[in-house]
Symmetry: C2
């Protein structure tokens, strides 16, 4: 295996563990168990645990950019693109009920740790915000596109947090419905036709 491949392997395992258990609670031993590598080997690829965190955030940023690009390509309209966002909560409901939103929980943990990487992690939110704002702009809401985008982000975070505490799948579905209803009321001309 090449160095780059091993490195990527480590980052992928860390990515999942940081999400499932949290950054601090994840030990090198956990990553070692996941990857089948020895602890000592990590230090050939990363000098510190913080460097692994930085690589994980970079990976998430790349993936998020690709995801958003795909949503835009596959959507027939900005409205449909936005609904890809809200549908994500349903598609990922199992993981969300167990570990919350990967972005929100990482930022929350880093904020408490007063960790220097918080700013970088917040970039993940900015990606979603700017992408959503772009869709609202395309819907003719250029003036308040950012406000609308942040409102959707806010709702997604609230849904994820409560879903984790309550472990309630119906709650997620109901609130995603309400989110789409809010979209209808804000952008009525884009609302999908009701079923006949």
């Amino acid at each position: 295996m090449t160095a780059a491949a091993t490195r990527h392997h480590i980052v992928e395992a860390a990515d999942r563990l940081f999400y499932e258990r949290g950054f601090e609670a994840t030990a090198f031993a956990d990553i070692a168990a996941q990857t089948g590598l020895s602890r000592g080997n990590f230090y050939y690829h990363f000098k510190t645990k913080d460097e692994i965190l930085a690589a994980v955030i970079a990976l998430r940023l790349e993936r998020t950019e690709r995801l958003l690009a795909r949503w835009r390509e596959e959507a027939g309209s900005p409205r449909e693109a936005i609904e890809s966002f809200s549908q994500m909560l349903i598609g990922n409901r199992t993981e969300i009920m167990r570990h919350g939103c990967p972005v929100g929980t990482l930022c929350a943990e880093l904020a408490k740790l007063d960790h220097r990487a918080l700013g970088r992690a917040t970039e993940l939110f900015y990606l979603f915000r700017d992408w959503l704002a772009g869709q609202f702009t395309a819907l003719g809401r250029r003036q308040d596109a950012e406000r609308l985008a942040l409102h959707l982000l806010m709702r997604s975070q609230g849904i994820a947090t409560l879903a984790t505490a309550f472990r309630d799948e119906d709650f997620i579905r109901r609130e995603v419905e309400a989110m789409n209803g809010w979209l209808d009321s804000e952008c009525p001309d884009t609302a999908p036709l009701p079923h006949p």
Copy 2:
């Protein structure tokens, strides 16, 4: 100092530190520094760190019950009582921007740790939910009181999470306004009169 007083002193310090830094990231040494007690002394009052956590959650449950009772007493109407809830986000904005919501971030951390105390921590959410549902019932919305209550809780969590990541006070104020606007639309007959 009596044993009960010392115990309470420990729990209060742990309460603050668990909120500010998180449960796992808080060490006995931190609590010792806060209280002026020695590490060894803790074990006279609590057998394990988990017992301190249980005591912290119990303290928060008591305090929350008292807070909700006070809100109800001081409010001139159920609608005013509900607005005490949304106003809390503004009153506590500084702490929220630094450490998030004490309830949401604790539940999120315990969920990731797969900690047995998660259920007990979730009781904090249930207190707010049931209290809010009670206000909606008093407003004549008995049928969907719980749904409305969870929606408000959801928004409070989303606001807190984004406020922590973005460190944006204006965002909080704007979303609290939107929250009150949502209240107006759901319970129009209770809406306060617009300023003349």
